[in-house]
């Protein structure tokens, strides 16, 4: 029987997948026996959502940008009539394994380990997870290996923490395992707070059992009895799917007491975060699970010794756990075969910003940035110029296009002044002002600083104030040096990762784009025309229809002109608020 699958991740839903699903349901019900309808997670092709797949055995056809009308056409012509609508197929697989479709460049170079099931299975079905080899890794960990052997296997795979710091996972597990037996915890950090990163959300929504299985294996390895998944409350769908997965796993004996008769007892609870970026820091995360304000603690003692409720705790992020079942089933050597010498395996990147094909891509470590952006990502939108990528979110930095041959791995990226981070990769073009971008990130970290230590609480505020005056056109001589020295101090004197990395966006843009800072401070000019107080607004007389809307919107009366005649802006009166630009429906107002 033909199976019709609709991508129902958050990105699919926001692009209209629900309406497509509703339309298809009516059709399937009207033609009983022709096809079954199902939901799946995110395949990563966010830029072509909503996606609909028509699957017959191994033959798969994925249609992109499907609206209810196209869904009806797919149903009548393809499902009922057997005709493939080739012009709408983004990716297809034939019975012999051959692939074709308009988006082959996007999926072709990928190696999908973490995303192995995303977009393929119904995330709410344990049967489908098991049919893809699910929980085989757990069985191996329970019955074929000792806890020490599990840890050895993870060590041998070379897997390093995917939350950003890149600490070797097997080594981390061995610390918690070495603690005396007793109450221990396994924690999964699913508080994906970096703006511009959404890989963890897609895994939780698309393959929740993979994360659970990884956590249960960890519990076996370190001897833990209770697990917590700390998930962002902004991800309601992920929370719901995790809870369904936990319930299903418990019914089938993968969770609870005496798991599969092995003697291991382990429970998992979902804890919803309440919106604090600092809770991505593990000790702050523990404080939040304990019901307190999420403020970091001084380390040592490290979590392996004294973590959640002062008990030995192992904390990894979503992507790290999702790798574990694959490593156990396929062997450490198979995993270590991907990547570079010190950064093994694959990494999921969230491509966003000015890139043509935004979405999730999982690639072997060590792939040059250029291949990710220009190859998989399809280059820059609207044919503009590739300026830089921003990696690691507010803790990271910019890597200019000139260094696009840098391989993505834990050794090479920090050398550029950026960090691997959790895998957010925001692509920037020539319309992005780097000073303004630094201000944006500082504003974010300043707002999210928990206030515990002085350098983070006040240092980030002073950095922000300097950046704000620069983008307002009030920069002072010596501001660059002030930013550099203060940034260095905040880095060195802050207690946790938030403060230690907060100056990175400033320091890395100062390093690569000193001329942009100079232009703002000395010439009172923004080369990218992004800082409104530093640009002039002009009306293009060719495009202006004289509708007068902009003149009405102007609070200072700087725009004048006769009805139905091109208007003009008095530069001396204009306060550069940008309102007229937002008002014009004809694109007649531009920045100069």
């Amino acid at each position: 029987m033909i199976r019709v699958l609709v991508g129902m991740g958050t990105c699919g839903l926001s692009a209209g997948a629900r309406q497509v699903m509703d339309a298809l349901r009516v059709l399937v019900e009207a033609h009983p026996g022709t096809a079954t309808l199902g939901a799946t997670g995110c395949i990563g092709m966010c830029y072509r959502e909503p996606l609909v797949e028509v699957r017959e055995g191994a033959v798969r056809r994925v249609y992109g940008e499907v609206d209810p009308a196209l869904a009806a056409e797919i149903f009548s012509r393809h499902v009922l009539g057997g005709e493939v609508l080739r012009e709408h197929v983004v990716w297809a697989q034939e019975a012999d394994g051959g692939t074709w479709g308009s988006e082959l460049d996007f999926l072709g170079p990928q190696v999908r380990i973490v995303l192995r099931n995303c977009g393929l299975i119904d995330p709410e079905s344990l049967d489908e997870y098991e049919s893809r080899g699910g929980y085989a890794g757990l069985r191996k960990a329970l019955f074929a290996l000792t806890p020490a052997q599990v840890i050895e296997e993870v060590k041998a795979s070379g897997l390093r923490g995917r939350g950003g710091a890149g600490f070797p996972t097997g080594l981390k597990w061995s610390f918690a395992a070495a603690q005396p037996a007793g109450r221990k915890y396994v924690v999964c950090n699913a508080d994906e707070g970096d703006p511009g990163a959404f890989m963890d959300r897609s895994v939780l929504e698309g393959d929740p059992h993979a994360v659970l299985e990884g956590m249960i294996v960890c519990a076996r390895a370190i001897g833990a009895s209770q697990g917590f998944i700390y998930c962002r409350a902004e991800y309601p769908l992920a929370v719901r799917r995790l809870e369904l997965a936990i319930e299903a796993a418990r019914v089938r004996g993968y969770l609870g007491s005496d798991i599969l008769g092995s003697g291991l007892s382990f429970e998992v609870k979902v804890k919803q975060g309440a919106g604090a970026f600092v809770c991505g820091e593990e000790t702050a995360l523990f404080a939040s699970i304990e019901g307190e304000r999420g403020m970091p603690r001084i380390r040592p003692p490290f979590p392996a010794e004294k973590g959640l409720w002062q008990r030995p705790t192992n904390n990894n992020n979503v992507e790290t756990y999702a790798n574990i079942p694959w490593i156990l089933v396929n062997g450490a050597a198979a995993y270590a075969a991907y990547g570079t010498e010190k950064s093994r395996g694959t990494k999921v990147f969230a491509l966003a910003g000015k890139v043509a094909r935004g979405g999730l891509a999982e690639v072997p470590m060590g792939m040059p940035i250029r291949d990710l952006v220009m190859g998989i990502g399809g280059g820059i939108k609207e044919g503009r110029t590739f300026k830089a990528v921003q990696m690691g979110g507010p803790s990271g930095g910019c890597i200019p296009a000139a260094q696009a041959d840098t391989p993505v791995d834990f050794e090479s990226i920090p050398k550029t002044g950026a960090i691997m981070g959790s895998g957010g990769m925001v692509v920037l073009d020539d319309s992005t002002c780097m000073v303004e971008l630094a201000r944006f990130f500082l504003h974010f970290t300043q707002d999210e600083s928990c206030g515990k230590c002085t350098f983070c609480r006040l240092g980030t505020l002073r950095l922000l104030e300097i950046l704000e005056r620069i983008v307002r056109g009030e920069g002072q001589e010596g501001d660059e040096d002030r930013l550099r020295s203060l940034g260095q101090q905040v880095k060195e004197a802050s207690l946790c990762g938030l403060g230690q990395t907060a100056p990175n966006p400033v320091l890395s843009t100062l390093r690569y784009y000193p001329e942009e800072y100079a232009a703002h401070i000395r010439d009172r000019r923004c080369p990218a025309l992004a800082c409104l107080p530093l640009v002039d607004f002009v009306i293009d007389p060719e495009r202006c229809t004289g509708c007068g809307l902009c003149a009405k919107s102007c609070a200072v009366g700087a725009i004048s002109g006769a009805v139905r005649q091109p208007h003009a802006i008095a530069v001396a009166t204009c306060v550069r608020c940008g309102r007229c630009l937002a008002t014009c429906s004809f694109g007649a107002i531009r920045k100069a």
């Binding site: 692009a15 979902v270 309440a274 307190e292 304000r293 974010f444």
Partner: protein, 173 residues
């Protein structure tokens, strides 16, 4: 324990288990739409956690609100991808259209406007959510269209109630 359990049941079932304060606050907010003073006193009374500590936790996290919300919640994304796609212009448009700053509620109680760090649908940037609906690839014109439609529908609903007609006429000159 399911996370969506009603506030009263959750409070009633509280057995002193550690780490329950934030889930209690979340269910209170789900129930009332914000956290009223009475709920703080009630939670403090049942858990034995001082009111000042409860208040401290509420104000630490972005999720919790101490003021009631408007009927429609607008959340504009100010994540990196939306930022570089000019999310600021979207916020400015909302400010001009509704006359409120971020974090405020319109005097008629129809809209509350918040920003969020990232909604996670970066390829649709710039994005906003109005209640549960996500709107992507926004322009100032499309934002105005969406907001005006909601205003119009609210006005129509009000007009359908005969007694309230006069009040609506005053609100929308």
């Amino acid at each position: 324990m399911p996370t969506n359990e009603p506030f009263a049941t959750r409070l009633w079932r509280y057995d002193g288990a550690p780490g329950e304060l934030i889930p209690l606050l979340q269910s209170a907010q789900e129930h009332f739409g914000y956290i009223p003073r009475g709920a703080i006193q009630h939670i403090a009374g049942v858990t034995g956690i001082p009111e000042s500590t409860v208040y401290g936790v509420i104000t630490f996290y972005n999720q919790f609100r101490l003021q009631p919300m408007g009927r429609h919640l607008i959340r504009t994304c100010v994540g990196t991808a939306c930022h570089v796609a000019n999310a600021r212009m979207i916020n400015d448009t909302i400010r001009d259209e509704l006359g409120i700053e971020v974090g405020e509620t319109t005097p008629d109680g129809l809209f509350t406007h918040f920003t969020v760090a990232c909604l996670g649908c970066c390829s649709l940037a710039p994005v906003m959510m109005v209640d549960e609906d996500t709107h992507g690839k926004l322009t100032p014109a499309s934002v105005r269209k969406i907001l005006r439609k909601i205003k119009r529908e609210a006005a129509q609903r009000e007009a359908a109630k005969p007694a309230a007609t006069a009040a609506v006429a005053k609100e929308q000159p």
